[in-house]
């Protein structure tokens, strides 16, 4: 079965500090993409960062970066200089490249609630 596991149900961090959220996944496919999405109380799922599995270089997006370990099927998210607005549920997810421009469903983990304290 294709699964995503986020082992930290809840995390907290002080404003301006750094926090890392963990994610492991299991797929037999070789061509896929990994994502971290953020879901604040408004429920809008917002893309934080994206990683292409065939790229070894870790993706970065401003204060957000990932540590992608393909062999270990690990995909952690590091948030630097945490801000109050980072408080949200964070989901790790992947999608299989079905070929060409066709993409299938996102498979999500259970989520990690991150609280940033002032």
């Amino acid at each position: 079965a294709q699964t995503v596991t986020q082992s930290q149900p809840e995390m907290s961090v002080q404003e301006a500090e750094t926090v890392t959220l963990s994610c492991t996944y299991d797929t037999s496919e070789n061509n896929y993409y990994l994502f971290w999405y953020k879901q604040p109380p408004s429920r809008q799922m917002i893309l934080v960062i994206r990683q292409e599995a065939y790229k070894q270089q870790n993706a970065t997006e401003n204060r957000f970066s990932v540590n992608f370990q393909k062999a270990a099927k690990s995909f952690s998210l590091k948030i630097s200089d945490s801000q109050l607005g980072d408080t949200a549920m964070y989901f790790c997810a992947y999608v299989i490249n079905a070929g060409g421009t066709s993409y299938g469903k996102l498979t999500f983990g259970q989520g990690t609630i991150l609280t940033v304290h002032p």
């Binding site: 995503v4 993409y33 994502f35 999405y37 408004s42 429920r43 809008q44 799922m45 917002i46 893309l47 994206r50 989901f91 997810a93 999608v95 490249n97 421009t101 066709s102 993409y103 299938g104 469903k105 996102l106 999500f108 983990g109 259970q110 989520g111």
Partner: protein, 114 residues
């Protein structure tokens, strides 16, 4: 650019009643997804459309759920009759063939079945 629009934002019904949710994807997005997100869990795909055709509905409880995307643009998801376990947030997402598999989500509809 307008985002994915969903309505209503909230719906409360009694079990065995019917309910419908509407989604209007981002203009030009051929692929549309409906996800169900039960409280405390990650979203799970119910159905995926490519234009007006169904790509994947393997997780859709077809005895009570139905969805359509008649003109390849907006979509409706219906539940009839609703059960208590259908209480969840229903998220609609869309993607463009050039968007490199990024899915854009609406704000969802929170359904409470009493």
């Amino acid at each position: 650019e307008a985002g994915v629009a969903q309505s209503p934002r909230y719906k409360i019904i009694e079990k065995r009643q019917s309910v419908a949710f509407w989604c209007n994807p981002i203009s030009g997005h051929a692929t549309l997804y409906w996800y169900q997100q039960i409280l405390g869990q990650g979203p799970k795909l119910l159905i995926q459309f490519q234009n007006n055709g169904v790509v994947d509905d393997s997780q859709l409880p077809k005895d009570r759920f139905s969805a359509e995307r008649l003109k390849g643009v907006d979509s409706t998801l219906k539940i009839q009759p609703a059960k208590l376990e259908d209480s969840a947030v229903y998220l609609c997402a869309s993607s463009h063939q050039d968007s490199k598999n990024i899915q854009y989500f609406g704000a969802g509809t929170r359904l409470s079945v009493l």
